[in-house]
Amino acid sequence: MQVTMTVNGTEYTREIEGRMLLVHFLRDVLGLTGTHWGCDTSNCGVCVVWLDGEPVKSCTVLAAMAGGHEVRTVEGLANGAELDPIQEGFRQCHGLQCGFCTPGMLMTCRALLDKNPDPTEGEIREAISGQICRCTGYSSIIRSVRWAAVHEASKEEATAQ
């Protein structure tokens, strides 16, 4: 079957099997390997991407279901050479080690900040609780999100002035 979707602002049309998962479409068909695959049961969240602005686990979405919709992946976060504040937060606060869960974490945390620009530690823990990181023990991820929140706020303040 033919599927057309917008990924990181670019429209793609491809011929695929109906059963193809979105994660495989992104990785194997479009070559966007920043999105990872880690379990078969929707538990680990390394495959999180945005579908129309909402974080979804792309291992449990058929590529066909994304047809006509907008997908955003980790490759679409940075603005050219400039990292998104959430990426910069992870860099500053050691929010990643092996980097395998990182793309999914970044997408979830970006979505959180868009909805809630000043999340508490508890709200951040809740937001990433559907995802597993085996390396960081989460504290530094929480600090990373707080870093991004604080820096976005001060940036907005500066712009307002």
Partner: protein, 797 residues
């Protein structure tokens, strides 16, 4: 020695621009990983690449009667279907394990654990390969499995390893350490003896990236390129040469970015070998990526020790001796990754951090119908089990003596003037100063106030527990005279080149799986050579462009390879000094090294930088007599001893009396890993390990039903901590440098995984004290805690 408490690392200046050497520095590897531009094995795409899927046994123990692959071969897009019989014809049906046993690559005679490899399909894509698996028809004759490890040596137990000539039981090895007679004598004379049966259940490292490989065999050149999820690319290359009979110089093993290892990616798995076979058979590149269930049911598990522990002491709380008897479950093949002379890894350090009069351990290892493995999950070669044993039994002693567990530990520590300290099992602890580490943890925790709070809560019927663990690890294997893996000495090479413009590249034999080697090793070279870390590229993971060495596991990268990096930089510096003396026209003796430059003694205005020296080393003009052009060096570092990091951990838990749910409220970790290269990375390593500890202590277990079905075969069944199960970690540190390591550093990668489970379990048991509970086994799930509260605690296996 300095003693400091870590501040919260929320706001720090990036000191990339303010080198040079040790201190917090943001990671070089993050640039690609944050942008989704990491390159993991499954990201490798080669022209014409095919996909491999493995058919696995649904049974734990069954004879293979027949395999019919005809329907699978006819399935669309299928390029090859291979069974054990085919491999047998090629002499590849069996391969050596890291413990000198053999393991089936594909089963021929029978299957010995659920999930064992039986056949494989190579097809155009991963979906078609999976489709074809379902069309392979295998007829099994189901045999009685050996699931209960306690019954593995029963006279009527089914024999698992019928492939081994004359094998008439399921015995793997007996092992012993310490002095039995002396230990028994001390026990007989002791005031107090406490005995406890302690189980360390089977767990799994479950890195977020599963295992996989891409094999690309070129039949014309006879050359194999293999991208694989390996923590030890060089050791793997040699083993492939042995297994597959390929000449070693024609094998290139590439470990690209690795999505977590934790020991899971040390062994060679059948899947890697099968991808090579698949590429040879089809003439195309072949990718194999296992799925999560395959990872959990077939790759290297960890622990699975049943330990009887005994401790002898005076009535005043002076610990005299420890002895233990261990029954070790090694699964269907002895695939333990440990130095050959150490079949139980470094379990011999079960004497802990205490000055004992005697110690003895007797161990029996057996085969069962479960997945092979045994050493994995950040265990520092079984030190997890050893530390858990000693820290749990010390707490039971405190319980019986009605002593505070902190006080009991403080009373029995090896004293600073006793180092280097030889334990009763023969380990030579290089350095340690335990009391300040313990005191700092107690101070950070507010120990006395916590005990007061606990007393108040107990009076109200609330369940609060405070658990302490103090550990000493032995990390950084070799030396090579004692330690080898399949004959390969545990040493590591390092090569350093300084280019004419003063930028450098350092090549390592070890391989990061997230530990940040590209940053840490640049910092080590920067510290020694004065070149900013940003100007130093760290190459690793590709056997064609890095020197030989045994790889990253057992917290050995900094102790071994880190030493190699420091020494190779010093070698380059020595040569630079000769060139500097010619450039400044003074004798070598008249030069001082100030980081990054040589200057004439007494005349700081007269100096040359390392960058200037580098250009001269490659430039026109004569060099001093006997000095070759270029500025580079290579060494192979053979450590003289292991390094012995230590730490004091305190855990505070609350237990809901209505649901028996354990909540880790606080966790204080004070680590001493000697010289600290990058505190940010060290803290990250500790945080990860502490989270592992919460998993093992409260959630994680690979269990089996009576038929040998694995009950932890997905992340819905094998529970790993999320952000909701762990607290905000509180870390601190002390610094006791290693006397034999060139920069005084010790390993840190596994300290927290080793030290945290006993702290958590001790806290839970402490909380349950009002119920008369002296011990309860992991994982302390609500139902198991509930049972313990009712005096019905049972072992998990």
């Amino acid at each position: 020695m300095t003693t400091t408490q870590d501040t919260k690392l929320t706001e720090f200046e990036d000191n990339d621009q303010n080198p040079v050497g040790f201190g917090r520095m943001l990671r070089k590897e993050d640039a690609r990983l944050l942008r989704g531009r990491g390159r993991f094995v499954d990201d490798v795409q080669l022209p014409g690449m095919l996909h491999l899927a493995i058919l696995r046994s649904p049974f734990a123990h069954a004879s293979i009667v027949s395999i019919d692959t005809s329907a699978a071969e006819a399935s669309p897009g299928v390029k090859a279907v291979v069974t054990g019989e085919t491999l047998k014809g090629l002499g590849l049906a069996w391969m050596p394990t890291l413990s000198n046993d053999v393991q089936a690559v594909l089963a021929t005679d029978k299957v010995r654990f659920q999930g064992q490899e039986v056949a494989f399909v190579v097809a155009e894509d991963r979906y078609k390969a999976r489709d074809a698996l379902e069309l392979i028809d295998v007829e099994y004759d189901v045999l009685e499995p050996v699931v209960d490890v306690r019954k593995a040596l029963a006279p009527d137990a089914p024999i698992i390893r019928t492939d081994l000539d004359g094998k008439a039981d399921n015995h793997v090895f007996d092992w012993e350490t310490g002095d039995e007679e002396e230990t028994n004598r001390v026990f007989a004379a002791a005031d107090v003896v406490v005995k406890e049966d302690i189980v360390y259940p089977r767990v799994h490292p479950a890195p977020m990236e599963t295992c996989g490989s891409v094999a690309d065999f070129d039949p014309v050149e006879g050359r194999l390129r293999l991208w694989s999820t390996t923590q030890a690319p060089h050791a793997h290359r040699t083993l492939y040469a042995i297994v597959a009979g390929l000449p070693e110089h024609k094998i290139q093993v590439i470990a690209p970015d690795i999505g977590g290892g934790f020991g899971n990616k040390v062994p060679i798995y059948p899947g890697y070998v099968l991808s090579i076979v698949g590429s040879i058979v089809t003439g195309k590149p072949v990718k194999w990526m296992e799925d999560r269930s395959e990872n959990l049911i077939s790759t290297g598990f960890a622990r699975d020790y049943i330990m009887r522990a005994e401790i002898a002491a005076t009535s005043e709380g002076r610990i005299l001796a420890i002895r233990t008897n261990v029954l070790a479950d090694h699964g269907a093949f002895n695939g333990t990754a440990a130095p050959v002379k150490y079949p139980a890894g470094f379990f011999g350090v079960f004497t802990g951090s205490y000055d004992l009069q005697a110690a003895h351990c007797k161990m029996t290892a057996v085969y069962t119908n479960k997945a092979p493995g045994g050493v994995a999950y950040a265990c520092s070669f079984r030190i997890t089990e050893a530390v858990y044993l000693v820290e749990r039994i010390v707490d039971t002693l405190a319980y019986e003596l009605r002593m505070d567990p902190a006080e009991l530990r403080l009373k029995n520590f090896i004293q600073p003037d006793q180092f280097p300290y030889t334990t009763k099992t023969g380990w030579v602890y290089d350095s340690g100063n335990y009391e300040p580490t313990m005191r700092l943890a107690m101070e950070m925790a507010g120990y006395d106030e916590l005990r007061k709070e606990q007393a108040e809560k107990r009076a109200r019927g609330e369940l609060m527990g405070i658990g302490i663990a103090f550990f000493t690890e032995a990390v950084g294997a070799g030396p090579r005279k004692n330690m080898d893996i399949l004959g390969l000495g545990m040493a590591d090479g390092c090569e350093l080149r300084v280019h004419p413009t003063g930028k450098a590249v350092v090549r390592l034999s070890v391989k990061t799986q997230g530990q940040g080697h590209e940053t840490t090793f640049a910092q080590i070279v920067a510290e020694e050579l004065g070149i900013p870390p940003a100007d130093i590229d760290v190459l690793h993971g590709d056997t064609d462009n890095t020197p030989f060495g045994l790889g990253t596991y057992g917290s050995r990268s900094t102790p071994v390879s880190g030493a190699a990096a420091a020494l190779v930089a010093r070698k380059v510096r020595d040569k630079a000094k000769l060139i500097a003396s010619a450039m400044l026209e003074v004798s070598v003796a008249d030069l001082d090294w100030v980081k990054g430059a040589f200057q004439v003694k007494g005349d700081p205005g007269k100096s040359v930088t390392i960058q200037e020296i580098a250009f001269r080393a490659h430039g026109a003009g004569d060099l001093p007599d006997g000095v070759e052009g270029g500025l580079e060096a290579q060494i192979c570092y053979n450590p003289s001893n292991l390094t012995y990091p230590h730490g004091a951990y305190i855990c505070v838990v609350d237990i809901d009396p209505g649901t028996a749910e354990v909540k880790v409220r606080r966790f204080i970790a004070v680590d001493d890993c000697g010289t600290r290269i990058n505190p940010m990375i060290i803290e990250g390593q500790v945080h990860g390990g502490l989270t592992d500890g919460v998993g093992m202590a409260l959630m994680e277990m690979i269990s089996f039903d009576e038929d040998g079905n694995c009950l932890g075969a997905s992340l819905m069944d094998y529970l790993i901590p999320t952000a909701l199960e762990v607290p905000d970690w509180e870390t601190g540190y002390t610094v006791t440098p290693s006397p034999h390591h060139p920069i005084g550093a010790k390993g840190i990668g596994e300290s927290a995984t080793v030290g945290s489970p006993p702290a958590i379990v001790n806290a839970v048991v402490d909380a349950l004290k009002p119920f008369g509970v002296r011990h309860a086994d992991m994982p302390l799930t609500p139902s198991r805690v509930w049972d313990a509260m009712r005096g019905q605690a049972t072992p998990p296996i």
